[in-house]
Symmetry: D2
Subunit: 233 residues, 4 copies
Amino acid sequence: MIPAGPPVDDTIQRLSGVLSPGDVIVDGGNSNYKDSIRRAEALRSQQVEFLDTGVSGGIWGLKVGFNLMVGGNQAVFKQVEPIFKTLAPADGYAYVGPSGAGHYAKMVRNGIEYSMLQSYAEGFEILKAAPFNFDLVQLARLWNHGSVIRSWLLELAQAAFERDPQLAHIKGYVEDSGEGRWTLEEALAHAVPTPALAMSLFMRYRSRQEDSFSAKVLAALRNEFGGHPVRAE
Amino acid sequence: MIPAGPPVDDTIQRLSGVLSPGDVIVDGGNSNYKDSIRRAEALRSQQVEFLDTGVSGGIWGLKVGFNLMVGGNQAVFKQVEPIFKTLAPADGYAYVGPSGAGHYAKMVRNGIEYSMLQSYAEGFEILKAAPFNFDLVQLARLWNHGSVIRSWLLELAQAAFERDPQLAHIKGYVEDSGEGRWTLEEALAHAVPTPALAMSLFMRYRSRQEDSFSAKVLAALRNEFGGHPVRAE
Amino acid sequence: MIPAGPPVDDTIQRLSGVLSPGDVIVDGGNSNYKDSIRRAEALRSQQVEFLDTGVSGGIWGLKVGFNLMVGGNQAVFKQVEPIFKTLAPADGYAYVGPSGAGHYAKMVRNGIEYSMLQSYAEGFEILKAAPFNFDLVQLARLWNHGSVIRSWLLELAQAAFERDPQLAHIKGYVEDSGEGRWTLEEALAHAVPTPALAMSLFMRYRSRQEDSFSAKVLAALRNEFGGHPVRAE
Amino acid sequence: MIPAGPPVDDTIQRLSGVLSPGDVIVDGGNSNYKDSIRRAEALRSQQVEFLDTGVSGGIWGLKVGFNLMVGGNQAVFKQVEPIFKTLAPADGYAYVGPSGAGHYAKMVRNGIEYSMLQSYAEGFEILKAAPFNFDLVQLARLWNHGSVIRSWLLELAQAAFERDPQLAHIKGYVEDSGEGRWTLEEALAHAVPTPALAMSLFMRYRSRQEDSFSAKVLAALRNEFGGHPVRAE
């Protein structure tokens, strides 16, 4: 989990003692873009610059490369660009807009990731339930070969199934980092219909419920009006 | 569960021995409307009439009245109308269209029921999770008093919460009769977007899964790309 | 639209000049429960009491009665209870919890309303697309007679179809008050899966889009990988 | 559109005149797997073999390679394997199971594609609505560089935005081939919750509606109970 929230404010607080006008802070964590806008403004009063930098690539960044989405003052970006160029050569980094834009872009990227994961997960669950005894490793490998749905995530799925074809040792319990919720909150704020994102998040919530109160209400009501039997808890 | 499927064909089969031209069969079960169309056509060749009659009212029909949606030949409907009038007086019955229309209307009615149940269930789950210690019986009672969301289902919810305020003795395990699926299949066949119906059905499916393979795939992939820990099964 | 937001703060501001310790302000609007908590705390310092009171019943309140969900200090509630009793006799009002609880309960009630409306709307759209020529007025009337899905909203649907059977004079453009979003934000904050609520809100957003950028992206990508034709804007 | 349905039966019909026992038919189209099972059985009686072969790779197959998922009799597969090896070398083809398995696997692959497309589409619509003026070409390029969500579809999105950054010349009108519906029908048949797939399909349906009857019902009801204004059609 990349640091965000209070730890970032604490660090800035601690740094402020040693910072002088013209210094630049680069937040490469998963901060909420609203916090980044607030921090950039607060630091500006001390003439300290702040670049919110979304970093994408997961734990594989070192091996397969990663990318940087930088938000803030463009002149300041130019000033420290050599650092970004060294970290993420070629098309690996870019200035994407004013303060907040870097973490906003990263946030949306994560939101897309939630839905893509759900997309593959649903497909594999259908294959598991199908009237055929499919080899998921074989299909993941095939689909990574010239198929429209090939992707890095599908390569990872292939690797996961090779290790444990039935995922027998993994519980279907899925956490969510804040970023999926933030992306959905942005969609709500701007009236953008994002059903796949919302459902991807809800299925994670559901995966963490031992029992569902909603389902209890349904069972209770079906019993009330239709005499449908309920299962005792 | 109102009989449907093979039992209906068996009964018609058994009856066919004693039926003479002009006789009328009334199927008051939850048959699939396509079966009703097929049966009406098959019987027509023997000059036996068939009325597919959706019956709605649940186990409360006797006490609070119910309604009949009749499909088939309108002249035949007129002929047996006295029976319907006796069973469901006043606005309790109607001829809704040709063969299949009665069971089609009943099917859609059930589909609406699925979504309404989910609507209340979600609301009560939010109240359970809220930062307030709400009395669900009290709120159900209040909302049944002049509120826009008052309904017979909400009266039943009030009754259910009065009996078991936390629904502590009921497991969140929800079956589904075929009718929700049939309604969704019709929506698919005619390209009608029905997200609330689909999600209401899916949450029932999910309520019956001990663990979710989709969630296992998500957990496995998050571990692959982000090193996020997984829970052992 | 019942007043909420700045108008409420302005009114409290104006009132504060004439209020003395022990006075009670009752906010019967659709305020966000977080604002109500903030206002109650701010006024407490001036020893002015604040009761956040969710009012439900729509424009029909006077005719068919409405209900009041009151949040705040219970002793203060007792003090002004005669007013509530006069406005909403019998089971028409209740003290539901500390500051914020009244508007929270009202918010969730509205959230349920969103999903119920979507439930009926989807059902009627399926009937419109069905291979039968259904009379929606007739079915709404039937279903209001002893059916499990009977409700006040369905009575209003019956009235609306009686006035305009095809809703030919109404555009499918649907606004949303803030309350549906707030309810969804609460569901997100407490990890409650609320698919029907989310989809009900998204379909309203979608109803207000002339064209959908998501759909443009889909059309563009299908053209890229499959050569599927696109329609020119 | 790859041929399926009647054209396939017609072709088999025409071929049957010239086929002799031991001949093999390979259906490389997007047939429904149930049709493929039916056809394989029918041909078996004439001792003609049938291999249902899902072909994936779109119009890019020739350039970037494609893959073949073969269903049917494994001995027959071995017999014609040289052809598959020539068409799709290396990991490009595989025997995935008995008759129907090939087209079933292809069907699910397409279902996943529906949800993946919706995942990206929602993300880009949020970026369009965001409080920043994002360059979608730039972000697509960045995300294709070491990001967790990089994929072939995202490369195509980059190409599409390079050609028309606002997709100003493309209407948001999206067709659906039968395969998304078939996949959802399979999910329904086996009680697999597939919300992302269902919503991806529904948003395509919605994109083809000039106006929505569901939305008309909502607007009408909000006017009935709350006096909310409606827009005239």
